[in-house]
């Protein structure tokens, strides 16, 4: 049986509970997850193979979290055996997602180009070689204004489209790490179908988790930085090399600390979506 809601164990999770559950998962598995993050960081210095490995390790953290959620916890070795053989699929899936985002960007640039050309063309038509004349400058000013508004609207629309796609692809690597017989294209399709109708929920989850991320990284980072800065470079002087180095080190460290949290979030979102969209955990117990 799954354990989705305290009062009713088979109900889907609320947004707050998705975030809390991820924090709890991270808290009780911190050591295992952080070992994996260390490996991920080391692999990320190796081109191609190491990058593929990094994606795989991040997804493995999600798998470990998910197995915990369905009460079938796995050891690091067990999870490794399941995800390691998919390493090139993880790489392929990340490439595909990269391509999707690039295509979106190209689309935006193209639309921007078209709109600009049309506006310039219209202004050119109206002024048509003639110069001067206050009426004409009035109309071209109007067109310019409408054009600027159009371009602004385009950017807003592009952002909304991006946000939608981001939400639909939010868990793209998780199905590949958990489901049997999945591949690079398949896992993206799974993320797409599972998140259908849940875009707003996912955005709110990301917002709340994002706030917590800032709280957890920012607070310690500023504390440590403020203290060391005041010791290393007394008032007025430029920040010393050590301080700058320390800043990047803190960033690196903070990012590593937060990564398992986000992988846990993805695992809980995946678990919750499967319960909503596929009725995960709904079964009559076999009493024979």
């Amino acid at each position: 049986m799954s354990n989705l809601s305290p009062s009713n164990p088979i109900q889907p999770l609320s947004i707050g509970n998705v975030v809390s559950a991820s924090v709890r998962l991270y808290r009780s598995n911190a050591k295992r997850y952080l070992i994996l993050v260390l490996r991920l960081y080391l692999w990320s210095f190796v081109p191609i193979y190491g990058w593929a490995k990094s994606v795989e390790i991040a997804a493995r953290i999600s798998r470990l979290a998910y197995q915990d959620l369905i009460n079938q916890p796995e050891s690091l070795t067990e999870a490794y055996q399941k995800t390691d053989r998919q390493i090139w699929n993880f790489f392929g899936a990340s490439l595909l997602v990269g391509l999707i985002y690039s295509a979106l960007l190209m689309g935006l640039i193209f639309a921007y180009f078209i709109v600009s050309v049309v506006i310039l063309f219209l202004i050119g038509m109206l002024t048509g070689g003639r110069t001067g004349g206050s009426e004409l400058t009035g109309t071209s000013f109007l067109i310019g204004l409408v054009g600027t508004l159009l371009l602004l609207a385009l950017i807003v629309i592009a952002f909304l489209v991006w946000l939608r796609v981001f939400s639909r692809l939010f868990i793209f690597e998780v199905p590949l790490a958990i489901e049997e017989n999945s591949d690079a294209a398949n896992t993206i399709g799974r993320s797409w179908t599972l998140t259908k109708g849940s875009v707003n929920r996912i955005q709110l989850i990301v917002l709340v988790a994002g706030v917590l991320t800032w709280v957890l990284i920012l607070a310690p980072t500023f504390l440590v930085l403020g203290l060391t800065m005041s010791i290393l470079s007394p008032s007025g002087e430029e920040p010393s090399g050590i301080a700058v180095l320390l800043f990047y080190l803190m960033l690196f460290l903070g990012n590593g600390l937060i990564l398992p949290f986000w992988q846990a979030i993805k695992a809980v979102v995946y678990y919750d979506l499967r319960s909503r969209r596929e009725g995960l955990g709904l079964e009559l117990r076999d009493r024979s």
Partner: protein
């Protein structure tokens, strides 16, 4: 691992109660909403203050150190609205603020009783300390009972409101009604346990947003399991129809 942080507490009457702690996610949501509402209230109050100030200056003329007085007044107002907001709502709504209501969480005392003015006041007086360097958030994440400084001082807990199971609202076809009569006569519906009934009910309630293929798979799987439980040889009905009929039959059977 359990998704929720469940705790048991003993009331002064020695009754043991079980609660689910609110969790950092719900508390963050509550705080975000509260700061939005609180900001709006503060804005309104400061606007009123500005209007009053304008009027006062006209009547009173110049006072010595006018700027300082007004600054002091502003600080007092901000402080008053800040502490007042949380104290007012937590006392009036028995441990809830607008944000907590939205997130469906509630403050209670360590012994399970509702909070009073003194607890609410202590919690809101210590809130600035909890907010600085996000100390409160860290304490909630790291401590077993999810207490921030204000909770320690006031002796309070923040819990999730237990929601009663909502009444079933799904439509049931006419065919299922006649089929349920038949099932009651010919099969052993009483072999179903309340847990089984709950699962079937849950499926019927939640089937509409489900993925088409997954829904078809799950319904035939559940129907097959249910068929075996009530001792039916084979299934000649559409799975969801059959499950609806079982749902009705179980209800009728348990009424007798």
């Amino acid at each position: 691992m359990s998704l929720f942080n469940r705790i048991k507490i003993r009331t002064p009457e020695s009754v043991e109660l079980e609660f689910t702690l609110a969790g950092i996610g719900n508390r963050t949501i509550a705080l975000l909403v509260d700061y939005l509402v609180w900001g709006a209230i503060l804005f309104a109050v400061l606007v009123v203050r500005a209007i009053l100030q304008f009027q006062l200056q006209r009547y009173l003329g110049n006072i010595e150190n006018e700027e300082l007085w007004l600054q002091a007044l502003t600080i007092l107002i901000v402080f008053g609205v800040y502490t007042g907001y949380f104290t007012f709502f937590e006392t009036l709504w028995q441990g809830q603020t607008p944000g907590k209501r939205y997130a469906k969480i509630r403050v209670i005392r360590d012994d399970g009783q509702p909070v009073g003015v003194s607890q609410a006041l202590l919690r809101s007086l210590l809130r600035p300390f909890d907010d600085s360097f996000f100390l409160g958030a860290l304490m909630i994440i790291l401590s077993k009972r999810e207490k921030r400084l204000g909770d320690w001082a006031a002796g309070t807990l923040v819990i999730q409101e237990e929601r009663a199971i909502a009444e079933a609202t799904f439509p049931i076809s006419e065919e299922a009604r006649s089929l349920s009569e038949e099932l009651l006569k010919t099969t052993n519906i009483s072999a179903l346990l309340p847990d089984d009934f709950a699962v079937i009910r849950e499926f019927l309630q939640r089937r509409y947003p489900m993925d088409k293929k997954a829904r078809a798979n799950l319904s035939s799987q559940l129907a097959d399991q249910a068929r075996r439980l009530i001792g039916l040889q084979e299934l000649q009905f559409q799975p969801e129809l059959f499950l609806e009929a079982i749902y009705l039959a179980y209800q009728q059977q348990s009424h007798h």
